[in-house]
Amino acid sequence: MIAADKPVQRSADAKLLYVDASGRISSVPRTSLVELLRSGDLVIANDAATLPASLRGIHLPTGAEVEVRLASRDSLASGDVLRFHAIVFGAGDHRTRTEDRALPPPLEPGQRIRVGPLTAIVEELLGHPRLVAIRFESLVADIWAGLARHGRPIQYAHMPQALQLWDVWTPIAAQPVAYEPPSAGFAVDWQLLAAFAAKGIVFATITHAAGISSTGDAALDRLLPFDEPYRIPAATEHALRRACREGRRVVAIGTTVVRALEHSAARFGAAVAGDDVADQRVGAQTQLRVVDVILSGTHEPGTSHYDLLHAFAGEAVLRRADRALDADGFRTHEFGDSVLIERASDRYSTEVRSCEAERIFATNARTGRGGRSPYTSRFLRAASDVVQESGHLSSAGRLVGCSC
């Protein structure tokens, strides 16, 4: 595929490869997306805004230049920005392919790295010369100001020009918690949302800290995606439950939405409101419980994003799709073209549909079987930041009362 090398989120000639549930493939303009969706579909996007997570810095013990790429943290809480996992490169910048980037000087716990106005201390090595836990030695407010002033969006060699935050924020970008843009959402603008509403397509969001997509190191890339915190709002849980009851489809905009919803459903029987951390891999072995259709960018075989598509379609269909992407001149990477893949009809499994599982859970809860409610335990382990928002989370009682 051709690399999309200009930061245009919605180019007028963007293409869409449509793979339907029976494996039929067609290539259409992406502007016709709404025609491929059905009245009643529930479309869910990731509304995370993207952090300026690439920080040029100096490794103080050696004076060497480094680039620190923030890669994950424990939660989405706005105050929880002291400690990050980070990938550290040596001198150079995004214009060098990550595969060819220099290693940083040997990193040791206790060393300090100065990044603009902030200083970070290396807390822990995480089993790879590039991967460390760091802690900023600043107040939370100063960390946000320092990141805003000094950080840049993480970017790669296929995009030579320096990206600005406005290049990587989707039109619906809200809380800045992603490390790279949830780029399937570039296709979603306010005009599209109006078209959804006009056709009776329901729109909802989750917030998922989309992580780094590539490190340039085979051993590290095998660890991707890292654990990613996410939040499902109560309104989205409501929309999911209604769609489920009424037998309507759930359409995920992007791989992160699949990862979050399926994580929640695997854990609790249904995708429920609240904060959690997605730590699973989604692939051919995954039995989807929530999502019926995915809109995604085009991904190269061998990446975790590509693996995720195997939850929706079999190997033979995806190979045909790859050939069609090449033959039709599709563009790849975050500003490239898109695919819309309906879950193959032979991968449909009623036993694991989320409302089935939810009904079973609700019955168990009413009759006292099945131990402590997973919903209750979920709130018990919530971080203090989440407790403040408890008025917006679903109550265990309401869930149990569900007549789904």
């Binding site: 509304d47 805004a49 706005s78 619906i172 809200a174 809380q175 109006a194 709002p233 309104a235 917006h392």
Partner: protein, 237 residues
């Protein structure tokens, strides 16, 4: 004390003087979680300390500053429920007839009073819509002026820019009503502020409204547009 803004995540531009400062004070008193923007780091630090608000140093007239402001506001507050575009520029000072107005002064008025609010609102539109979807309510208040409606001689740059802001607000409100985001432009009246002193140096202070009074009126207007759960708190208190 009114607590009808309880924990509403709020960003106010021009928060270190005049009406903006009065709004920082009024909204924090009502229980809102307030971040504010202003250009001068020292003033920002003083106001932040005094009111327990989060101060952001930035200039809404500068394109490069908009997302730096947005990422800090949405980051620190964890989202946004209320945006008050208050920062304003008079154009030429002393005020001048349009024929005598330097193009650069007119441009600056448009940048601060129209383009800045447009860019900042656009950058935060996702946060505002997310808040509406979650039932928290979502309000953008653009501070306007009677000069946006009436043709006062020597108020050309300011009046034209505020008229554009008011009309942009009406159109955007139409477009965003389906998403639950409410945008309104309000005229706080002639206030005893540093900006008014620049415009009308010999004004009789006794005839001018105190910015604190205008801030109460604007805060009431915002609170009325937030969900009933917050308004109910207000009635009960």
């Amino acid at each position: 004390m009114q607590t009808d803004m309880q924990s509403a995540r709020t960003l106010i531009t021009g928060g270190t003087s005049g009406l903006g400062l009065a709004l920082v004070r009024e909204l924090t008193l009502r229980g809102a979680r307030v971040a504010f923007v202003a250009r001068t780091a020292e003033r920002v630090a003083v106001v932040a300390r005094e009111y327990g608000a989060h101060g952001i140093v930035g200039d809404i007239a500068k394109k490069e500053d908009i997302h730096l402001i947005a990422v800090q506001a949405a980051g620190v507050l964890g989202g946004l429920d209320v945006l008050v575009n208050n920062a304003s520029d008079l154009g030429p000072t002393p005020l001048a007839l349009l024929g005598d107005t330097e193009c650069e002064d007119f441009e600056r008025a448009l940048l601060t009073n129209v383009l800045g609010p447009f860019r900042l609102t656009k950058a935060l539109l996702g946060s505002l819509a997310a808040s509406a979807r979650e039932g928290r309510g979502s309000v953008v208040l653009n501070v306007s002026s009677d000069a946006a409606v009436n043709a006062y001689a020597r108020w050309g740059a300011y009046g034209s820019s505020k008229a554009a802001l008011a009309h942009m607000t009406r159109i955007w409100n139409e477009e965003m009503s389906m998403h639950g985001v409410k945008l309104l432009a309000l005229d706080p009246g002639d206030m005893d502020t540093p900006m008014h002193a620049l415009a009308v140096p010999d004004a009789d202070h006794a005839t001018l409204k105190q910015p604190g009074v205008a801030a109460i009126e604007l805060a009431d207007a915002i609170a009325d547009l937030l969900p009933r759960s917050r308004a109910a708190v207000r009635r009960a208190s």
